[in-house]
């Protein structure tokens, strides 16, 4: 087209006031207009307009009342009389949007079924999609035949519509959809790209619980009959799933299907290349030889002109850099040019990747580049950068000076709470881990609280300052900053500052008189809490109060950690009835109640800062179990429930009866709670009981059984078996289980059961009670403090050779598994390629004995792992016992 294009533009039109076809639209009026749907002579065009208006209202967030929706729905059904194709499309859309109730659906079923068998492909495809969205399972069986036909329909649009509807229906009526396997399998071979994609997705979901079938599917398809890029992506996902599951059992040798993944790196479609590259980088224990081809294609993407491609590549490489930094260093030059990328997400990912792969000599140069960069990115990116800097600093402690400076500089700049908190948390962690960084770090924090608008952060820093400040070379220089808080801040911060002052007074004798002067001034504070604290500390430090008779008690009171969960303390205090007996704080339970599952959203974010040390799965005594068990008279005399395990599955998924067991541990008893579900609608089970053979667990003797009277379809019930064991003995053993019951036939149409039943039994999997069952996972907030506060006399240290292990990480998780304790401060994660690792564990052993464990692992030979185990606990005997557990484990 050499000829210049003259584009006519109506300038007047642009300046005209904007006109929308929906200007001033109003729900009531549109609903009135919808009356045209009832006209005997339908005006298709007019009806289309009205539907568009209705859809516009819904799209803008307007809602119809139940009555209005029903009215619109009925009116819309009239439009099936019109033969106008365009109108019919809008009718389909409208019905889906209205999501009619079951009794309304019946009205359109016949019209839609007619369309499903129409000669027009467009009608068939759309009628299927609409109908499958709105029907229930009883109606579904009526149209099942047509859907099966549609799956293998010549027209790809019709086939896809049926397949996608199948994926949707699988969630509500799996038993029906599973019957379509043959047709779906045929569709996988379709020539049409999207039919293949939809068929593969459905086939996999039908078989997803059958590992063998999925593996077969992958084996046959990786030989090359899949052409569509989307279907290829699916196949890659399923393949890596199979690899993941197979590598759990077999070790050594070539990884199955790796050739297939590698061949996908040479695919024409970029999405397939990316999917394959990502799958390779995420393989368990991926080797650098396996990584290389994937890194190479990702590196090419880094210089693409498409932002999405650059983003995808840099994001993947960033993840790889956390585990295999050396593999990514080749891309460093490309990464550096991405720091100035227009897209800030890409730039941030590039920076953090560089921070992960950088070596000691490049730190200073990177810091320089970062300073300019930080000012023009959003807070959430800054947090990512701060976290990356923190880990870099821990990696290269010698570089703490420039990194600490960087952190303090950005701490002074503008920013929101989360961002500032990330910086403060980082500085605190650096102070803890790098002794040389302590003085400068504390000084930066002091400067920060001089001008900090966040109460939470001020108190956090003051608390930290109180613990660390007195141990520095010149504690007196911090006093000014702390006392300034007493003068300038709100009551919460003032109270916190008073506590900090007291800590300095307690530890630094030379400062004591001056601290006394300052604390006395606080006695005139306007706030009760501040005055109370000042009074208490003055008495405590002056040695007058009864609580503080010895210096040790004072320090314990000031610095001791408060282990009792506040929720438990609150309940105990509420239950305390005023009487002669004083409230005894040691009676408060130390067990943390399991937290309600945090909202789904948080899963995407990683916990940051020291707070993460507290998090982690905490399976403990569930109040509902306690209540259930104490209501059963047979078990009432067993005393206090120590621990309930997570449910252990005793049956495979999707079997006739599904049974799992919860182990309840008491001091002298163990109760096994079997949760049973009957998944056969045609059966009623009665007198359900689990017969337990404890011949391989001779330290246990069965004392009681509680059977389940009846177990109807799909309503779970429990049966219990109780065992006695010696108190204080760490009894372990294996139990084999058989489910025994009387089965009665049920007529599904009436729901009535036959009078006559047949005795039957069902073999369940074995169950083990291990020493880990006697240990509660209870975390501590500051391991070092907790360790130091325990009696060194109780410490038992010994060394163990663990023999040849697959990796250090595997050895660490095996020992954690044997002990059943809570890993602290994220030490359960072993950085790859490291030759040694220290892991900190905490827990409460049966008998409420607090136990702390310090594990040091090291690689001696190529794969030989050696371990040093140090235990401290409230009871030296328990320390010995922990060693016994490890020695036997």
């Amino acid at each position: 087209m050499a000829q210049p294009l003259v584009v006519k533009k109506d300038d007047d039109l642009d300046e005209e006031e904007y006109y929308s076809p929906f200007l001033g639209i109003e729900k009531g009026a549109v609903l009135q207009e919808a009356r045209v749907f009832h006209d005997p002579q339908l005006d298709a065009r007019r009806c289309c307009q009205v539907i568009t208006k209705l859809l516009y209202l819904l799209n803008q967030g307007d809602t119809f009342t139940k009555v209005e929706a029903t009215e619109v729905f009925f009116a819309t059904t009239k439009l099936f009389q019109s033969k106008d194709a365009g109108l019919r499309r809008m009718v389909y859309l409208m019905i889906k949007e209205l999501s009619p109730s079951a009794d309304e659906v019946i009205i359109v079923t016949s019209s839609l079924m007619k369309d499903m068998n129409s000669k027009t492909d467009m009608y068939r495809a759309n009628a299927i999609r609409v109908l499958c969205r709105i029907i229930d399972s009883t109606l579904l069986t009526q149209i099942e035949r047509y859907l099966k036909q549609a799956i293998v329909d010549k027209n790809p649009v019709v086939a896809s519509a049926a397949l996608v509807s199948g994926i949707y229906l699988l969630q509500t009526s799996p038993e029906v959809v599973k019957r379509w396997s043959n047709e779906v399998q045929e569709a996988v071979q379709s020539r049409a790209a999207l039919v293949q994609f939809h068929a593969l997705a459905l086939l996999h979901q039908i078989r997803q619980n059958d590992r063998l079938a999925v593996s077969k599917l992958v084996t046959s398809l990786t030989r090359g009959s899949v052409r569509s890029p989307l279907a290829q992506c699916l196949l890659i996902r399923y393949t890596s799933q199979v690899i993941r599951e197979s590598s759990m059992n077999s070790q050594g040798g070539d990884r199955p299907f790796f050739d297939f993944l590698e061949s996908c790196l040479r695919n024409k479609a970029e999405m397939v290349i990316l999917e394959a590259a990502r799958a390779i980088t995420e393989l368990n224990g991926v080797t650098s030889r396996e990584l290389t081809p994937a890194i190479t294609v990702l590196q090419l993407f880094l210089s693409s002109s498409k932002p999405v491609l650059r983003f995808a590549a840099v994001r993947t490489l960033n993840k790889v850099a956390s585990t295999h930094p050396l593999a990514v260093t080749n891309c460093n030059i490309d990464m550096e040019s991405l720091i100035s990328d227009q897209n800030r997400s890409i730039a941030t990912l590039a920076i953090t990747t560089l921070l992960k792969t950088g070596n000691e000599s490049s730190v200073d140069r990177l810091m320089k580049q970062m300073t300019n960069f930080m000012s023009d990115i959003a807070d959430e990116f800054k947090i990512v950068v701060v976290e990356a800097i923190r880990s870099l600093c821990l990696k290269f402690p010698l570089k703490y000076r420039s990194l600490m400076n960087f952190l303090s500089n950005i701490l002074r700049e503008e920013g929101g709470f989360e961002y500032k908190k990330a910086i403060v948390d980082s500085i605190i962690i650096l102070i803890r881990d790098i002794p040389d960084a302590k003085e400068s770090g504390l000084f930066h924090l002091c400067e920060f609280i001089e001008d900090c608008e966040f109460t939470y952060m001020s108190t956090q820093i003051l608390h930290f300052l109180g613990n660390e400040g007195p141990k520095t070379s010149d504690p007196s220089k911090y006093i000014r900053y702390i006392y300034n808080r007493v003068i300038l801040e709100n009551a919460t911060v003032r109270a916190s500052a008073v506590s900090t002052l007291a800590k300095f007074g307690a530890l630094v004798d030379s400062l004591k008189p001056r601290i006394f002067v300052l604390l006395r001034r606080c006695l005139f504070d306007g706030d009760d809490e501040v005055r109370d604290r000042a009074t208490l500390y003055l008495k405590l430090l002056g040695g007058e109060a009864t609580v503080g008779e010895t210096e040790k008690d004072v320090n314990e009171f000031l610095f001791g950690s408060f282990d009792i969960p506040l929720v438990n303390l609150e309940t105990s205090l509420q239950n305390y009835e005023p009487s002669e007996a004083p409230f005894d704080i040691s009676s408060v339970s130390l067990e943390t109640k399991s937290q309600p599952l945090a909202e789904k959203k948080t899963t995407g974010k990683k916990p940051t800062g020291p707070a993460s040390a507290l998090s982690g799965p905490v399976p403990t005594v569930d109040a509902s179990y306690e209540k259930l068990l104490s209501s059963i008279p047979e078990f009432a005399g067993f005393g206090k429930l120590f621990k309930s395990s997570a449910p252990v599955e005793l049956t495979e998924a999707e079997t006739e009866y599904s049974v799992n067991v919860v182990k309840h541990i008491y001091d002298g008893h163990v109760v096994l709670q079997y949760n049973c579900t009957n998944t056969i609608p045609e059966q009623l089970l009665e007198e359900v009981v689990v017969f337990v053979d404890a011949s391989e667990a001779d330290e246990f003797s069965e004392v009681a059984t509680k059977s389940l009277r009846s177990l109807p379809y799909d309503s779970p019930g429990q049966t219990f078996v109780a065992f006695e064991k010696l108190e204080g003995v760490l009894a372990t053993g294996k139990f084999s289980n058989i489910l025994k019951f009387i089965v009665k036939e049920v007529d599904p149409s009436t729901g009535e059961a036959d009078d006559d039943g047949v005795e039957d039994e069902y073999q369940l999997e074995d169950l083990e009670i291990t020493s880990a069952d006697y240990m509660l996972k209870v975390g501590v907030s500051n391991f070092r403090n907790a360790w130091e506060s325990m009696d060194p006399e109780s410490e038992r240290v010994d060394e163990y050779g663990l023999g040849a292990r697959e990796s250090l990480a595997e050895a660490v998780s095996a020992v954690i598994g044997i002990l059943g304790m809570q890993p602290c401060e994220g030490t359960d994660v072993v950085p790859s390629n490291s030759r040694s690792h220290t892991c900190l564990l905490s827990g409460v052993f049966i008998g409420n004995v607090k136990v702390l464990v310090r594990l040091s692992f090291g690689l001696s030979g190529p794969k030989e792992v050696a371990m040093k185990l140090a235990v401290r606990s409230d009871d030296p005997e328990i320390s010995d016992k922990i060693h016994e557990i490890v020695a036997n484990g």
């Binding site: 294009l5 584009v7 929308s20 076809p21 929906f22 298709a44 065009r45 289309c48 539907i51 568009t52 859809l55 799209n59 803008q60 967030g61 106008d84 194709a85 365009g86 109108l87 499309r89 809008m90 859309l93 889906k96 467009m122 999609r129 649009v157 896809s160 996608v164 994926i167 949707y168 994609f197 939809h198 997705a201 996999h204 979901q205 997803q208 989307l230 992506c233 699916l234 996902r237 799933q241 970029e270 999405m271 990316l274 999917e275 002109s305 932002p307 999405v308 491609l309 983003f311 995808a312 994001r315 227009q342 897209n343 997400s345 959003a378 959430e380 789904k600 959203k601 899963t603 995407g604």
Partner: protein, 182 residues
């Protein structure tokens, strides 16, 4: 079903078409992550403000926030967005976005702006309906999508009336080419 999303089909969380002030032209959500209209509006607002200053005109852009990836493109005064979970393959989602913006371009015959989009809202809604069903990608090829939507217009009432489909698509492509050359 935590594992479900990643192990199974690529899935789309929502498709948004907003105007240059961040107001809705047409939106469709396929996920329960946003349960109320208020939470949807809040999401749209934050997506809009976070992407406003970027230049997503010649190439589709991408951002990551709140645990979602959002791929987006601006044409005249219209902002196209497609959202997915953060572990999704970005290029698949970018493909959906391209199918969406290009097919709208074809259906509006190159005249991609808010005013025309609202005047042909029925086509836009049908177009979204043909691209994704319940989160599962139905079709990403712009010509096929536009073809499927345009088959409606056979009765003489809709804009494609006087032309056959192939003619309509040819004009549309020409318009598109012209708008790119501008």
């Amino acid at each position: 079903m935590g594992e479900f999303s990643k192990e199974s089909c690529p899935s789309v969380k929502n498709i948004l078409l907003l105007d240059s002030e961040g107001k809705r032209v047409a939106v469709k959500y396929f996920s329960d992550d946003w349960s109320s209209n208020a939470s949807k509006l809040a999401f749209e607002k934050s997506v809009f403000t976070k992407t406003l200053k970027t230049n997503a005109r010649s190439e589709a852009e991408i951002t990551l926030f709140d645990g979602y990836i959002v791929v987006y493109k601006f044409v005249q005064d219209l902002h196209f967005f497609v959202t997915a979970g953060d572990d999704e393959n970005e290029l698949i989602i970018a493909n959906v976005l391209q199918g969406f913006s290009d097919s709208v371009g074809l259906l509006l015959r190159g005249d991609v702006e808010k005013r025309t989009a609202l005047e042909n809202l029925d086509l836009i809604l049908l177009c979204i309906d043909e691209i994704v069903d319940g989160g599962i990608i139905l079709e990403t090829d712009a010509n096929t999508i536009a073809g499927k939507v345009a088959t409606n217009a056979v009765d003489g009432s809709a804009p494609f009336s006087e032309q056959t489909i192939s003619q309509a698509l040819a004009t549309a492509r020409e318009h598109l080419a012209r708008s790119l050359l501008k």
